[in-house]
Structure formats: structure tokens, C-alpha cells
Amino acid sequence: MTRNISRRSMLKGTAAVGAASALPMLPFSAEAAGEIIVGGLHDLSGFIDFAGIPMNQIMLMAIEEINASGGLLGKKVKGVVYDPQSNMSMYSQFATQLALKDKASVVMGGITSASRETIRPILHRFKTLYFYNTLYEGGVCDRNEITLGTTPAQTVEELVPYTMGMWGKKVYTIAADYNYGQITAAWVKRYVEQNGGEVVATDFFPLDVTNFGPTISKIQSAKPDMVMSVLVGGAHLGFYNQWAAAGMKKEIPIASTTFGAGGAEIEIIKPEVANGIVTSYGYYPSIDSPANNAWVAKVKKRYPEKTPFLTELSAFTWDGMMIWADAVRTAGSMDRMKLIEVMESGKTYNLPSGQCSIDPKTHHAIRDVYIADLQDKTFIIKKKFSQVQPADTQSVCDLVKNPNSNKHYEISLK
């Protein structure tokens, strides 16, 4: 049998497979079909694909649900998905393509702040509505962008007093050495001091550092009451294993603004190491509300295999799709400014993540924020804060006064 496969037929076969697999990437001319195009730009490969793949799965599921209930304005919604591969030049290429060639009505995506700042100005220029659904350091001021992820002022503000109340006032911060880590560490310091505590030291680590031995010794000699981890990415996960291996788990508790944010961490780091880490996000799969329980069941039914991680990132992508669809239905139009005006009107949305409305001044979400304790791969929710304002971005941005703003402010706390 194998002898029948000549080199030529083999080549033909593989070429056909290659062509077929390229097909879904080709956006068909959508205008003619009268479809509404939703663009998806998530990292489906590369170092944060563990975050991008679930976001994309949830976006496609939302499109299916919108279509199942009759589409929007009598038209079907169609997702056009590209994989920018964590490559910024591909991000800008695909964003331009979505805006000009595919004529997308809305674009969902961008994960890192770098990718957001690559595509945000492009979509602003081409007047294509943009949803950024990832937690980030705050400061985007752009009327064309709806920002649904939590910012440090929403999560750190609650996490710091809660954990200091449990554990004590001396805090040691370890953070990733780039803008998210630097800015979040500054917010940690501010909230610790506002609550009468002290940050004994802040150490920054480049994203490829894997050896945390010296830091663990330094933490032991500083004897803080708690460690605040703002570590990011795969290499930094080594910290938690080394911390547990040094026997520190029973000695000093850890709070984190990042652990479990992408969902993969709680699968990679074994429960005996990760149990007891306290985090704060705008979504946990364990939120016990009818809306969330129904949504989680729906996701599991849609994706019985390769069930996406349910985190802020994927849940807020769902939020983004629902808020956008609601705006289209309410406005009865696809006109971008009409949609923005609907979303700015202060409507309250009931979503799996809780209650949410769009702040007209910053276009960031005013949303419910939770604090949870990780036990055996499950986040047990300890406390809920209702309708938390994105105070950091509000301190620099006012889109009511400056509707043409097109900027990412670096919020300085010094």
C-alpha cells in the first residue's frame, strides 16, 4: 500500500491539504452576503496562546449564540479570525486588513499592552470600533475603544487592604520588569501606604528569569508579613515551585495580581504549591449567580473537549460581544457613533461576571470585583465588591471633555 504513494502524489496531496487549511483564513467578500463582520485578533500561537485560544473560542461561541437568536438587524454575524502569532507587525497588518478589506464592524482582541497599542491607533484612524477585553495597567483614553478588563485601581485597591487585614502590614513586592509590572507595583505601594502598611522591598525580574533563589533568601531575611506577586509569564512560574521547595509556603502567605489570570497557571502549578494564593479579578468561574452558572454550563456544552479556561480574559470577551450586540439592537443601526452613544448612556448590563456599565469618561468598565482564595484548582470567592470604578484611568482621562483623545497615558505615581 505504502509503495503506491509516489513522491509526486505525496506532493500533490500535501499541497491540497495546505491549500485547504489556508481556506478559513481567507475572508470572503462579506458586504455582498449582507453579513456583519466581527474581527478577532487573539494570539492563537506563540507564548500567550494559552490566553488567546480561549478568548477566540468564546468569541466564536458568542457569535453562534447571536446568530441562533436571529442575528442582528436581520443579518447574520460572521467572525473573521486571524492569528497575529504574538508578532506586532502581523497585528498591525491584520488590524488594517480587518478595517479596510474585511470592513469589520467591530474588532475584539489584543492581549498584551504592546499589541493593544499597535492596533488601537489603527482602528481609531479607520473608525472601526474596538473592544479590549484584557486586564491591564490602565490609562487608555480613546473614545473608539471599549476597555472591559480590570485595572490596578479596581483589583489592587481591594486586594491590598483585604490581605493586609488577614496577614499584617509588612509587604514584599516581586514584579515583572516591564510596564505592567512597574505600574502595578507602584499601585501596590500606594495602597499599602494608604492602609498604614509598609512595602519593605520591591524586586523586579525580566520575563526570562527562572532562578528565584537569591530573592527567596532576601525575602526570608526581610521577614515580611506577606508577599505580593506581580510576576508574569511562564518563566516566572518557577518562583512558586522554588518558594514551596524552600519550605516558605507555611511561613509567609502570597497574594497575587496575576496568578491564574490566564487560567493555565492553576493547571501547571500543582495544588500543594498553589493552594492559598489570594487573588483579585473581575471574574472567577466559581461566581455563584444564575447568570454565571448558566454560562459555565453553556461553555462546557459547546466545548466538551478542549474546554476553554474561564478567566477574566475569556469571560470579558463574552461580555464585549454581548454589550456590542445589545448596542446594535438598541441603536437599530450599525453606525459606529450611534453604538458608542448607546454604550456611553450608562446602561447596566447583567453578565456572567456580574453587573457592569461603561464609564462615559474613560470607556472602561465599572464592574464587580472579587477576591478569591485558590484551593485545589478552584478559586473560592471570599468577598465581592460592587461597581468598582476604574479610578486610575479616571484620574487622567475625560472623554466627555476631550472626545478626540487618542492616547495611552502612563499613569505616574511618583
Binding site: F205, P214, L237, N241, Q242, A245, G247, I268, K270
Partner: protein, 288 residues
């Protein structure tokens, strides 16, 4: 007092880390003059061997100490037969070929296992040193590095196989006339170098986790250590690891990891300016 002891252990740990990642490369580069850019990926394969076999229920010690070096060693022999043996004496060509191999391995592992970090729990608990605690695994790493360097030394110096290997590297034609198949010696040497890379990957997997791109982070440090050390496998690796590791880790303690890594490069730069043939090119010239 306790603190200085903890610092000393961390310095030794960094030295041990350099010895582990550099030994396999030192054997391949120092003895065979083959620049194996895929060395970092051999380490990565060792790490994946441990993660995957322990997931299947294999005892972690068997996975680290036996399976990782064995599987990567066999893989090294295959690579030597298919690629490396055609390129002896052609340093630039071997560099390009192994670079291609390195890209292939990263891509292959990414496709098969995904571009996500995999981990195993660190074995052992911790011991207390005064008010501090140190992971016993850290001490085990230091011990493992000493065992690696001792075994290479004893093999090269005191066994017939070591003698044949050294002779082959110096004059393969003469060895052939004495009835020894020099091709087999080359193959075995490359396989052993690969096996040490696999062992290093296995030993590092529990503390840093494994990811397809991890080799790129290690290969730089490994090469700098080997080049700084010079051609003598044991004395070179040992001296370069000790100097670079202890200085960079001291700086890490005082100023943080960014300065630690920068200092490692800076010290290597100065050493190579003063000793272009590496440390063993000028000092310890008669050692192995």
C-alpha cells in the same frame, strides 16, 4: 552568619547550574570542535522527558537520573549519525546545521506539546539554617554538579575509554592504526555530551519548568562558560563556572537579576580579552 551561609549555598547553586548546562557542550565543543547550537534544545528535551514520563507515573528519580540522559543520549547518537558526522572539521557548517536542528526541535516540540510551560513538583522538602530555609533540592543540584564533573574527570583520566577518547581527539589517524574505530569514538563522545545535556534538563525541570523555547535562554550562558573555560573539559568548565557563577550571583544578591546577568557577560568579556584561548589556554594547560 546564617545569612552568609545561605548566600554561599546560592552562589554554589549558580555555579552548579552553569556546570550542569555547560558540561555536555564542553565535551562536544572542547573535545570534538563541533559547535552544537542545538545544545539548549537537548537540555529542553531532557526536561520534557522528565515531565512526560512522571505524568505517566514513572518515579521522578528514575526519570531525572536515568531516562532523561538515556533518551537524549540516544537522540544525540542519531543526530551524530545523520548530521554531525558529515561536518567534522567544518565549524561554520556544523554551526549552521545545528542551528537548523535547534529551530526544528523548538518547532516540533511546540507543535506536539504546545507552547505552554509544563512543570513537575520539586522533590524533597526544605531544611532550616538558622532563621532561613533552603530547599534540599538546591543542595542536591550542587551535589549532582560535583558528581558530573567528577565522573567526567575520572573517566577521562583513569579509564581506558577516556584515554582512547582523548587520543582520538588529538590524532584520529594514529588511533586508527592502533585498531580502534575512530568513528565509533566520535559517535559515543557526541552521545555522551548529549546525555549530559539531557541530565541537565532533567535536573532543572522541577525548579524552572519546561517550555519549548527554554534552550535559547540556556545556550548563551552555556557557550560563554565553555568559551571562557577553554578547551580542557573538566578544568575549563569548573574554573569558568566558579568565576562567572559566583560573581554574577553575588551581584544578583546586591543589585538584582538584571545586573547579575549583565555582570556575567561583562566578566566573560574581560576574561576573554585577557585570555583569548580561555582560562585553560593559559592556566591549567596540562589538565583535562
Amino acid at each position: 552568619m546564617d545569612y552568609s551561609l545561605v548566600v554561599a549555598i546560592e552562589l554554589l547553586r549558580e555555579v552548579a547550574g552553569l556546570i550542569l548546562i555547560a558540561t555536555g557542550l564542553a565535551i562536544v565543543f572542547g573535545m570534538m570542535r563541533v559547535i552544537n547550537i542545538a545544545h539548549g534544545e537537548f537540555i529542553m528535551l531532557g526536561g520534557y522527558t522528565v515531565v512526560l514520563t512522571t505524568k505517566q507515573g514513572v518515579n521522578i528519580w528514575i526519570a531525572i537520573l536515568i531516562l532523561a540522559p538515556l533518551i537524549v543520549g540516544i537522540f544525540g547518537v542519531i543526530v551524530e549519525r545523520l548530521i554531525i558526522r558529515h561536518l567534522y572539521g567544518r565549524i561554520i557548517d556544523s554551526l549552521l546545521a545545528t542551528w537548523g536542528l535547534s529551530l526544528f526541535l523548538i518547532g516540533f516540540v511546540t507543535v506536539v506539546f504546545g507552547n505552554t510551560v509544563e512543570g513537575v513538583t520539586t522533590p524533597f522538602s526544605a531544611i532550616a539554617i538558622g532563621g532561613y530555609t533552603v530547599s534540599i533540592y538546591t543542595l542536591f543540584l550542587i551535589f549532582a554538579a560535583m558528581a558530573v564533573i567528577a565522573s567526567v574527570y575520572l573517566t577521562l583520566r583513569h579509564t581506558k575509554a577516556g584515554l582512547i577518547a582523548r587520543a582520538t581527539m588529538q590524532n584520529p589517524d594514529m588511533v586508527e592504526t592502533l585498531g580502534i574505530n575512530s568513528k565509533l569514538v566520535y559517535m559515543a563522545t557526541f552521545g555522551i555530551g548529549a546525555a549530559f545535556a539531557g541530565l541537565a534538563g532533567g535536573l532543572l525541570a522541577p525548579i524552572s519548568g519546561v517550555v519549548p523555547s527554554m534552550g535559547a535562554l540556556l545556550i548563551g550562558k552555556a557557550f560563554i562558560t565553555v568559551v571562557t573555560g577553554g578547551t580542557a573539559v573538566v578544568a575549563g568548565t569548573l574554573s569558568a563556572s566558579s568565576i562567572l557563577g559566583s560573581i554574577s550571583q553575588s551581584v544578583t544578591f546586591i543589585f538584582g537579576p538584571v545586573f547579575g546577568d549583565a555582570t556575567l557577560l561583562f566578566v566573560a568579556l574581560i576574561l576573554l580579552r585577557l585570555l583569548p584561548q580561555g582560562i585553560t589556554g593559559r592556566i591549567f594547560t596540562r589538565s583535562v
